[in-house]
Symmetry: C3
């Protein structure tokens, strides 16, 4: 139960090894990840019932600082914090790029002086959540809600939780991540979480120009076509493709991208019977995934969203009430 992976001091832990920030899943131990998933599972309720609620964070204040718009992620964090009894303030910052770091830090210092306890930060540039985490007071926590192409740790956790719910285990699973791997923080955080949790057969696939450098995604196998990537998998994660990336991939329009990399019911048959289909949303229906699959019986996309709130509740409670986390 002692998260030893944390004891030699990555910046997201306190001196006692407890989790203080959540900026990346890279350094989290399997035990830590499992504890977070277990705690998150405790917050999951069937759709149609009242959501889990507590007063664990009564008197706490959480600030959502988003410099790129992401209504869904903001609302997910907002509901997670409110359902734990915290007060939430939302700030959409439009910072000029030249002074961004400085302005972000001055904003953070200001909010910290107003006794904000946790910052949820989303930014299109790499390094911003780390810079904030390195500068806040010792009692303050920073959660990344998506950092450039680098990391989206709560997404990685909700993906892992979804797989755990549906498959009951990580060992022995085969999983494929399909699409624009190169620019995807979702793929990176899934990779961090799932290799640590014991997924051995982890595959990445996409157009050559959208594959990551060879030094990245250690331990993953690389596939150059969709069918081989899907063959025999238990879990299929489709990624959103940006229009401008299609051109880079020499698949300049939606139809061509779909023809090469779009997930259809027919192609999904290459996966194992009962394989689940994931997508971080928002989806481009008819481009990386057809609606029949997105809304079909193998899709767990709505589970992912539900689990997102539960995971964010677990993370907020863990970092803000560390004694509870250590217990």
């Amino acid at each position: 139960m002692n998260p030893t992976a944390g004891s030699n001091g990555p910046p997201q832990r306190r001196p006692d090894g407890s989790l203080r920030h959540l900026l990346t899943l890279e350094s989290l131990s399997r035990t830590e990840l499992e504890q977070l998933l277990e705690r998150a599972q405790g917050f999951v309720r069937p759709v149609g019932e009242r959501p889990a609620r507590s007063a664990a964070l009564a008197g706490y204040t959480v600030a959502n600082l988003f410099t790129e718009p992401s209504t869904r992620t903001r609302v997910s964090f907002e509901l997670a914090a409110k359902r734990l009894g915290a007060q939430v303030v939302n700030l959409e910052l439009q910072l000029s790029s030249r002074l961004k770091g400085e302005s972000m830090l001055d904003t953070v210092y200001t909010l910290q002086a107003m006794q904000v306890d946790a910052f949820v930060i989303r930014d299109a540039e790499a390094g911003v959540p780390q810079a904030v985490a390195a500068n806040v007071a010792p009692h303050v926590s920073v959660l990344s809600a998506g950092e450039a192409h680098v990391s989206h740790p709560t997404q990685g956790l909700l993906d892992a939780l979804t797989i755990r719910q549906r498959k009951g285990r990580f060992e022995g699973l085969s999983m494929a991540i399909i699409g624009d791997i190169r620019h995807s923080r979702v793929a990176r955080s899934a990779w961090h979480a799932l290799r640590t949790l014991g997924v051995r057969d982890l595959r990445i696939a996409g157009p050559a120009a959208l594959m990551p450098d060879a030094t990245e995604f250690a331990g993953c196998s690389r596939h150059t076509d969709l069918t081989s990537a899907l063959a025999g998998t238990d879990v299929v994660m489709m990624l959103r493709i940006q229009k401008e990336r299609m051109g880079e991939a020499d698949l300049p329009d939606a139809a061509q991208y779909f023809a090469a990399w779009g997930l259809t019911r027919e192609r999904l048959a290459a996966a194992r019977t009962g394989a689940i289909v994931m997508h971080p949303q928002p989806m481009n229906r008819g481009i990386e995934i057809e609606s029949e699959v997105a809304d079909g019986p193998q899709s767990v996309i709505r589970d992912q969203v539900r689990n997102g709130v539960a995971v964010r509740m677990a993370v907020l409670e863990t970092v803000l009430t560390p004694r509870g986390a250590a217990a």
Copy 2:
């Protein structure tokens, strides 16, 4: 007490006939309308006292999804939900028109997976609240906060409540709705509510180009000048005129519109002594109504606003806690 009008299944009712959505007032029975008004009246407090509050919706989550800006209506729904103890998230969506329906539905599915219980939807296009209502899970409710020119059901209810408070009855009342009837969801919802509640002498009047098709507003008399429309009425409802509509009506500027259709103290004298003046706001003072009337002793415009919160509390409680509603 059995709302039989609902038993043959318009989509805004549950199989047991209880109100699940509020998309239009068209199919509501007189009993149902009266129950909603009675419940709303219970939430009315004199200005200067604390507003009515309860914990009836503690643990519930209400999402305001507005694709056209309407701060006042959004705040009215927000306060209604908060004063019943619900948590509220506000989303202002800017959806590209081509993908609007799909994006709206994906957003709704996402929020539903986050255990949002009710969606309050405002949209400039017809059919959006219905489309959402047709697709949400069985435990989820949809309230229209204004749908194109078609319907604005909580506005119709607040108008009815205001008349009930001031006149004590609906039978025997004469009422005129004046202005751009053609494009007015406010006029349509008032007509739906008030004819069902028993107003017999319901008149509509406005420039010919802004009058509705002959097939619409059944049972209303049509007037071509302001004075005849007002003669002997108990209730006068003025509508907001959009600048671009003045041109369509061959009254190309504010002064000409005011000369023909603006409500002045002198013209109001044609109505019955003690007639009340209503307006859905925002007002164009000096165009469809002069300030002396808007702020005068016969104006009930601020009552309408106060009643708006009460009506929205009644509707939220009714649709989200249906056993209470059936009791």
Copy 3:
């Protein structure tokens, strides 16, 4: 304890002399200011502890009406209201200038009818908070959150509270306000508060074009260079300079402004040992103040922010629960 300064009726008091609005600090007596500071001090908690909270305003509704963006001030008022148990609605209004006063008043009337108890108003034009205060119902309060160049009363209070905490007194202090005094509501409110509280040696300094008219800032000495302004002071307040004002001051770029008026560690040595440095934020680091000073041991800038929430809690509680205030 009888605030006699209020008995002859400036519009921000009730007939019994209690504070109803806070639009300016000009007419507040020393006793009133000290009572507000004392109450605010009771809401101050060390950073890292839970913030002060109460249910004093449970059932109350506070509306933030901002026509110019100011995220920090909005969040400060929002947290102050929420920590007293009030419900808060945020409105960012974009009002066309021609109809601004009218639109603002119609919005206020609407919100008042929704049982909003207090309006927090920020506007770039002079007179707007007063106009609102003159028109709201007797039970409603108006707080200025910054009015053109005229007044920023809660800023004046938080500045006074910060000085009181650090210096323990006002008599005998020397204080300098440096920069664009002419356009500064911060300087004016500081001047109002501090002369009333007993600061005798109050100095203003800045480029000649940015100094106020001779009829303003009665009782302040005027300095034409930074060093003489700072000499022997206990408190230094630096003001933000707008880029366009530098040109007016014949200091057309940041480097020139900094050379003439920027506060550096060397220059600060002219002040008394232990002098405190204040800034209302947001700061232009390297223009009116260097980072070494802004983040240095003499800076109390973060205290100012923390005190801002406490002061706003004190003011909200005072104006909305007047019996408490009179007790």
